[in-house]
Symmetry: C2
């Protein structure tokens, strides 16, 4: 019916061969034009690149990966949905990776499952990096992954006693500074409400907090009854705390969302005013924390910098594949708002 030759699939995306034919070069040369460190006459490359642009050609990453073993894919594992921190971080991370030419595959780890459970599905696409934003520990995954050639990076978490890459905020220092601040403003009867039990964030924040309290000879009531970093868990936890120790004057929470649950329960269930009767401090500084309705005093987690550090780490690993596993630690800072009061005159 038509005079088309050989074009079995008329609407198919243009392939390297067509570029080659149109320009009177070989497919190898076309391929080389798209590889930075291949030797091509710069005029040839320019010609190819220009023509490719007009017809909208780009090398098929699937075909390419078959031979190079480089998929151009970064897999991000997520699970925690309660914490607005994660969407913020996920978006920033995706954006930065995308701009560096990576494509992000998103894997969700449903509650009740571990990253290990869904690792096989993720590995099918041979991601070059796997970024774990999940709360659950994934020791097995780390091993399997290393064998299969994907690099594993823990985002906002690390696995104790394991050699793996990780990027975290300085949680222990943050906890320490919060305690220091509360102590210097006259608080004496502290409590720490932890988040997800095995999350290093929760553990380290609490550890730093307790350490600074001990330095001043203060004991800390620690509540570890929360199952996750959620509003509901904070809401419940503080009721346990106040029942056990009604005299508390300063509560540090595993993160902002827990803190908001804590504040609401204090005011609506326990008849305490925040900050008049009791101070509450969070961790993360999610955008909601700055809303007038919350005005949460918290420790700022510099998401942007942690994301930059993560993508920087990826570049380093790429350039130096033999790099030893390491941890990047980014500092945060205290943000003072309205859920805290200076109690020195009341001492």
């Amino acid at each position: 019916m038509s005079s088309r030759e050989k074009s079995k699939n008329p609407d198919k995306v243009v392939a390297a061969r067509e570029i080659a034919e149109a320009l009177g070069v070989s497919v190898s040369t076309v391929s080389r034009a798209f590889s930075r460190d291949s030797k091509v006459a710069s005029e040839t490359r320019d010609m190819i690149l220009e023509y490719a642009k007009t017809v909208g050609y780009q090398p098929n990453p699937m075909a390419r990966s078959l031979i190079t073993n480089r998929s151009g894919i970064v897999s991000i594992f997520i699970s925690d949905i309660f914490n607005p921190f994660f969407p913020e971080a996920l978006t920033a991370l995706t954006d930065t990776l995308q701009q560096s030419g990576w494509n992000v595959m998103l894997m969700h780890v449903p509650s009740g499952k571990t990253p290990d459970d869904i690792l096989p599905q993720a590995m099918a696409y041979k991601p070059e990096f796997i970024i774990l934003m999940t709360a659950t520990v994934a020791f097995q995954a780390a091993m399997a992954t290393a064998k299969l050639g994907s690099h594993l990076i823990f985002f906002n978490r690390y696995v104790p006693n394991t050699e793996a890459f990780s990027v975290v905020c300085d949680n222990a220092k943050g906890g320490w500074e919060v305690a220091d601040f509360l102590i210097r403003t006259g608080h004496r009867r502290m409590a720490y409400i932890a988040g997800t039990p095995d999350a290093t964030t929760s553990i380290d924040r609490g550890r730093g907090f307790v350490e600074r309290c001990r330095e001043s000879g203060l004991d800390v009531l620690i509540d570890e009854g929360s199952r996750v970093f959620s509003y509901e868990d904070g809401y419940t936890a503080v009721q346990r705390v106040i029942k056990k120790a009604p005299d508390r004057d300063g509560i540090f929470c595993g993160n902002d969302i827990i803190a908001m649950g804590v504040i609401d329960a204090l005011q609506h269930e326990l008849g305490r005013r925040v900050p008049d009767d009791i101070s509450v401090v969070g961790f993360d500084d999610v955008s909601m924390a700055s809303w007038p309705s919350h005005g949460l005093t918290t420790y700022h987690y510099p998401v942007g910098r942690v994301v930059e550090a993560t993508v920087g780490l990826i570049k380093e690993i790429e350039e130096n594949p033999g790099l030893r596993p390491m941890s990047k630690v980014v500092p945060g800072w205290l943000v003072i708002r309205n859920t805290h009061r200076d109690r020195r005159r009341c001492a």
Copy 2:
């Protein structure tokens, strides 16, 4: 140094050829064992599948896609980060797709860019479906996409005057019901604070609201000054509204986050009590809306059902590739909490 033969890459993932050799069958047979509608002796298939399981083999989707033109990938485009509705939906959608065997590629559309700008990068991996969760309209993308063989689905949005698949909540009906509820409880001086200007969600919610008000002969003050569906925009918008019309007794907002900004500004900047002086109703019913600190009266958006409808639509399109573009509409319902008051006795 070693006696390994031909194994250029010792740690390589096992491929079909190795399965074939080990079992004394051809690679085609192995391939067929993994294709549901291929004719293989069921004993042969069982043998292959079982052996494959023990050595952890699964067909390489990249290689497969080269020949089948089916990538197994669904691309999800996101942009709106202010609204907690999106992480909730994204997580649910990813999870459901994953369980159906799809892999999700996440593309972020930064502010100032349109989906069209990043479409080329997404298309490189030849996603079979593209789900747009972005606020921005993407008319060009729809066209380009259809040509290249990916199906486009608008999630929580549609493009007026274009034939495309979409799954939405019944926004107009929602707005209508909110107005009906406010009117029946004695409100007379209404306002609607819109969200992202060209978002069909914002437009339809407002349209339904206004329609019901008109039915009762009530005029509605409409504020369309918001740039996005954000807390800050709500905070600013309501100040414009009250300056222009200080007598308002019922405000309907484009979504919950705007509503929270509105409530905070009313109480902290404008000296109005909610709900005593004025009622505020949101839309979405994000998890935060049910916190005691907000107790927001709002219209519930059934995320789970919309996700199900979306994945259902994908299945339908797969089974019937010639399916005409259509819209799936899922109903929501009103959730009454504490930002509203019955004003009938004050009339």
